[in-house]
Point group: D2
Chain length 363, copies 4
């Protein structure tokens, strides 16, 4: 198992959904960075369930306790550990499922990997709940980046067949803030309402829906990242696939490049206020794995919540017979909108790591 | 810069397009593995240019020389180094471009990163030519995997708006072999002809087209990979984005999950010959970052060749004035079909690394 | 900062001496391993201060709380986090010192590195107190190894000019247990009494003494470790130098090889019960970075406690003037004997990591 | 196997003693650094055998060929690969030994690890010959460091029971240069002659002797390195134990700390020309894993050449019977003096890596 990532900024996530606590160690934060606890809490609250009929009824306090790494609210250079106590679990709901792997969940692969020893109550370490410590780490990264004029924001780009407006070319912190303040994180509220309708419809049908999240980062210097296997795309993708339920990651024009010609996809270089910019940004701010200085843009595909209320076919791993299961308990009919701040968090953490590394291309 | 990847199997790629040689060090290959040189050469030849009007006229011998790691054609446990001499470069073609970054290429970001010191003749270290050593490493991995009943194959899934048939659910080594033997790597030759038409049309228009590659691996045991940041998806994506021009990576249903309901996307667990299988494979053989034992499937988006014959806008970095450039030299109107074995190679290398690591979930 | 180590078993330590808590995340423990809490506590107690006049009067409870990674006392495959609350700190004792770096401590280098922002109360993250979470991780590793017949033990090899008996060639678990049960961890109690005398004498003189710890591991299979930079010695040394105050690490005959001839130092290969063994063990169980199957032996040099009661010369970093300081507070006249279990812990953790990796030389 | 090390500067060594070639890939060198080939060759020549009766008669050309990473003799940012062809091997000398592991060599452990498949002719990948590519990488690092006022030098500190003068407290580039220019790398030529006498005596007796090498680096800024497991000591030790035959590594006062009191060992902080310095340097320039700005000093123990001309006891792994072997072929009666530039090389490479990483303690 390796629930950690990062090179100079190392983030190590721990906890099971129904264990004593979940948390994160962030090793490598620069010293002297004040952490705005209120702002951090507001960020954490963006992924919180229980805000609307769209989400699970489980109420999570999610008030982090800082065990290390801060002195008087300022980073002190040593690893920061923050912990969120678990509570309000109804493990009983899950006990019956233990030998019957839920389709679309990691129950079966965990059973194979850990020989039936995994604590899979509530999804265990695979639970979406583990994105709370990720948001903790990423929320801190976001504050540190923002002080350097680097802003990271995301929105729900699509749910079902419905889509939001994409981020505009001049995307920036104001739009990020605006979207973040909304109860449903979209640019176009009309589209947002239609999406919410689709989610509620899925709920009524004891079903769920997937979605796509678009994320952007502005203010990045050109020259970050390295060619081939240590580029910005490699490192972001490696981390983003760590968010439960992510099945695809694309940058800039992404998969639509297959339909573009070179003359359409190439971004011409221009001058703007004496700086080199590109006229379009199909590259998503990255060429050869290295930042161009244009906004970094990426999209992440999030699968429909695998927990649905309908009966599903599975295998009883005890008796090795085919059987059926119906998941009761609480679950979200869609997790994509709740994953929006998580994508921001992971993106911010990777970017801060890259930034700490600096541009060591010359010396 | 970090042109290396892997945990127990470390692959380190070196070389510039117009330097003395390109090559690869593969550290961690198990000992006692015979390398079939003929089969390896045939694999390398699949990415070779100059086979048809679809590709650049540059002729590459690409006969690797093995400097270490073998004794009598069998791996001996110490790092394998293989080198391919460069020849037939026309650096003159590129000299004029040095201060004028080509849109869609890494010229500008390399210029920023290495302060104008990068050797960018022919794309330098960013050149598609560097995929030859990747195929060397991956071709060896493929042979080692095949001996264990694990097969990796890929095909051109789409070019422009045109698409091949997807891999069928019962994809396996025969189909892989069949596609690999074709001059144009598709399942449906009719679709292949239409794609080739689109590529030739782009060439005539001094333009280029992008594409999507689908790759699959069969015979993998369940239980490989780790949750969160060290899963099969994380590691494959991190490596696949190291292939030049890749802008998106998705697994199983990938981005289409956004349009699926949970009841559609969830793969029911069934028994087949006493083994747990899934009835469908939207998961692409991976749940919670860990292999299910079903075929691993992924798709990779490859952007249109940035080198096109049309005049393009750029900035002269010497005078800092906007200007125009027209790329002469040789270049492919599409690189996606040539990237098919490269995707296989990178996938095989990552899978062998995972396999060497074994399933250390229990002890 | 990187307070973590390990490849498949990743250990990440956090906390400051006078912060809220210290702790450790252990990522990669195999599932299904029962942890004997009593045995673990007994191991932790071996490094505890306050047992005798030899140690600081600071009383530490050091009762770990497990936040994750266990279900019913058995490892469940997900990262284990254990936390020890801090208490009984007298930060006031240290406040005056902040601008006056203590000779032999990391105060000055931390001040340079973190621009005066480091939390150095009680030594902060550099404090010997951080060896408690190391012992937690290592104590768990020891239990898992012991179940496989691999035992790790250590003793105080020397203090001042005085030395204990070295481990005998047939060192094994009984001797480890015997030494571990003693209040002062030596083989020869007479030597131990003389050492304690030297420590008490140093205390009376407001001074301190250094020491050497010898550690051995038995039951290791041959074939662990890799040549050059990933050998058993490389990995052990990299981790052992992470123990505060360690200034030297040697294996087998170590530095005394300089005085040996090849005919003396070479260990002849012999057969014993059909197994290949060596007649002597100057190699310390490692040849070419790889285990021979003989006992692994190493020694670690621990410098005298830098905190001494005598006036010392230093520089006031506020006024940039030379000055004098006298450290009050509590401090041990020797830390080498308390570091004995820490050396065992780090050694056990590295060995378990190597063992999980297995011998992937062939496949 | 992992014959690579480094974080931002990655060094990957390949080759077997009697294979086609040996070499190194250096990934992460800053661009724009001219490499003085003559100076590099002079550095490589320092480890060359065949200079005197002290060394093996094997003549090695050791003229490296650069395959990548340079343009017009200047680093261009992409991975540098340099290769040295092998020649003048007499593999026949070794053939008889294959099933009879030589005491003190890695023959037996390699046989276990790679199931008898390792290419161990001439020591294979474990051969001291592999230190040539290390010197290549380190020699380049030395040139880059020297341009920043950072100098690395070493001398033979002892052989048998005989010792050279230690480096003086004001050690610096002049003394480094002086020692490097000598045919036998010592400070005190009288001691050097006595050492050479001991080596020749060992040779006559068909035996060998070990030694200790002292290395220092001057001009380092304070603040490099990180606490606990990523400190300067951890990283240097991990790399230095990769040099064949190294059995111990110590920093500053090293193992002698066991005999020192705190009041002796602590280095008082003083001011010199307005800069904080220490009055002595028992810390070897490192406190808490972080550089103090004082000279970094370390010592490395090198075991006696295991290849000796005397009959030795071993086991025939084919018949599994005890037997005797006498190594013929060529071998050095001492390798410690030839390892002096190797220790410099590895130290320089690690220091350049640390320097590229910079001091990211604050931001």
């Amino acid at each position: 198992m390796s629930s950690s990532f990062g090179k100079l900024l190392k983030i190590s996530v721990f906890g099971q959904s129904h264990g004593a606590a979940i948390g994160v160690v962030v090793d490598g934060l620069p010293a002297g960075e004040a952490i705005d606890r209120e702002e951090l809490q507001a960020f954490l609250d963006r992924r919180k369930p229980g805000k609307s009929p769209l989400s699970t009824a489980r109420r999570e306090g999610d008030i982090p306790e800082f065990l290390s790494g801060l002195e008087n609210g300022v980073t002190c250079g040593s690893p920061l550990c923050a912990v969120i106590q678990n509570s309000d679990q109804h493990s009983g709901d899950y006990k019956a499922l233990e030998q019957k792997p839920r389709p679309g969940h990691a129950d079966y692969t965990a059973w194979v990997k850990w020989g039936g020893q995994a604590d899979m109550r509530g999804g265990g370490h695979f639970s979406g709940r583990l994105t709370a410590p990720l948001c903790l780490a990423g929320g801190i990264a976001k504050q540190i980046l923002a002080r350097r004029g680097i802003f990271v924001g995301a929105h729900l780009h699509g749910v079902g067949g419905l889509t939001d407006l994409p981020f505009p070319e001049d995307v920036g912190p104001e739009l990020f803030r605006e979207v973040a303040a909304k109860p449903f994180p979209v640019i176009d509220d009309g589209a947002g309402e239609r999406m919410q309708g689709a989610i509620l419809r899925a709920k009524e049908e004891l079903d769920s829906v997937g979605g796509v999240i678009e994320c952007a980062a502005t203010g990045l210097p050109a020259g970050l990242g390295d060619p081939m296997f240590d580029g910005v795309e490699n490192r972001l993708a490696a981390a983003l696939f760590g968010i439960p339920a992510v099945k695809g990651v694309e940058f800039g024009a992404g998969f639509s490049v297959a339909k573009l010609s070179g003359s359409e996809n190439n971004d011409p270089f221009l001058l703007k206020d004496g700086e080199v910019v590109t006229g379009s940004n199909h590259a998503g701010g990255i060429l050869g794995g290295i930042t161009t200085g244009m906004p970094l843009t990426l999209r992440v595909a999030v699968k429909p919540t695998p927990s649905i209320g309908r009966p599903q076919r599975t295998v009883d791993l005890g008796t090795m017979e085919e059987t059926e299961l119906t998941i009761r308990g609480r679950h979200d009919p869609c997790i994509a909108h709740r994953a929006v701040p998580v994508v921001e968090a992971v993106t911010a953490a990777v970017l801060l790591d890259l930034l700490l590394e600096g541009n060591h291309g010359t010396f």
